[in-house]
């Protein structure tokens, strides 16, 4: 049995940012998933959501809760990522001053996602947008 949820994200909307991740976290808790898994999903999703709000114009986040894994796919319309290697480096950020004032833009987003997921795939096109997919495996029960 799989559950799928879709969220629309708005670039620049910091007051709503994090709602999708919060929603999924509540759902995973209801489903009784182990807390270490919920924590990984919450962190990875939240960082990805903030990335869209901080850098892109808009985005769509799809979350698939499957028996053996949680799969998340985020596609945004935005400027794209100029240098993926730099973006994956801790401490490197292209965040605006406004984003930094929100407590983000420390350059930990993508590294945090990588650290909390079992696989991660990032594709980008300059002046078009970015597609990020990642998954967290659930141990078979």
């Amino acid at each position: 049995m799989s559950i799928s949820k879709i969220y629309h994200l708005e670039g620049g909307n910091f007051s709503e940012a994090g709602m999708a991740s919060s929603d999924i976290k509540k759902l995973l808790k209801k489903l009784g998933l182990p807390s270490n898994i919920i924590k990984k999903v919450a962190i990875a999703m939240y960082e990805a959501e903030i990335n869209v709000v901080a850098h892109a114009y808009s985005g769509i986040m799809e979350v698939m809760i499957k028996p053996d894994e949680i799969f998340v796919s985020i596609e945004d319309e935005g400027p794209g990522i100029k240098d993926i290697n730099m973006a994956m480096t801790e401490g490197f950020s292209t965040a605006s001053q406004k984003v930094r004032e929100m407590g983000f833009g420390a350059g930990m987003g993508l590294p945090n996602i990588k650290r909390n997921t079992d696989f991660m795939n990032l594709e980008t096109e300059i002046d078009k947008g970015t597609k990020l997919k990642f998954g967290i495996k659930l141990s078979g029960e």
């Binding site: 910091f14 007051s15 940012a17 994090g18 991740s21 919060s22 976290k25 807390s35 924590k39 919450a42 962190i43 939240y46 960082e47 903030i50 929100m102 407590g103 983000f104 420390a106 350059g107 930990m108 987003g109 945090n112 650290r115």
Partner: protein, 120 residues
């Protein structure tokens, strides 16, 4: 230390009451970098977040890693949205007039005094 003690040490006002006052706090995180909270919180339930960042994202971030106590320093005004999120998430939101250096110092001193008296 219990939340009740934390309130007394920091002379804190309660903006929202979430978790019970007897709840134990063992770790303290003093930061305005939300990604650091996500990356370095090991056990959110026993951690208090102490910060000067008084916007809604502070509470969202705390909730993501199961932090149940957030202390806003320097008597800063908080947005309405922050109070809403604290209430929804069952987080105890406190505010102290002390700056973050003083807060860290007071808590650190208190913890060290407690463990020194335990070793006698």
């Amino acid at each position: 230390m219990k939340i009740d003690e934390l309130k007394k040490i920091l002379n804190a006002e309660v903006l929202t009451k979430g978790i019970d006052d007897n709840h134990e706090i063992e770790n303290f995180c003093c930061t305005e970098l939300m990604s650091d909270v996500l990356a370095f919180t090991n056990d959110g339930e026993s951690t208090a977040l102490i910060t000067a960042l008084s916007n809604a994202q502070t509470l969202r971030t705390a909730d993501m890693v199961d932090i149940r106590v957030v202390v806003i320093v320097r008597g800063k005004q908080v947005e309405e949205k922050l109070i809403e999120i604290a209430e929804e998430s069952g987080i105890t939101l406190l505010r102290t007039k002390y700056p973050i250096f003083t807060v860290a110092g007071k808590l650190y001193q208190h913890i060290n005094m407690e463990s020194a008296s335990e070793h006698k």
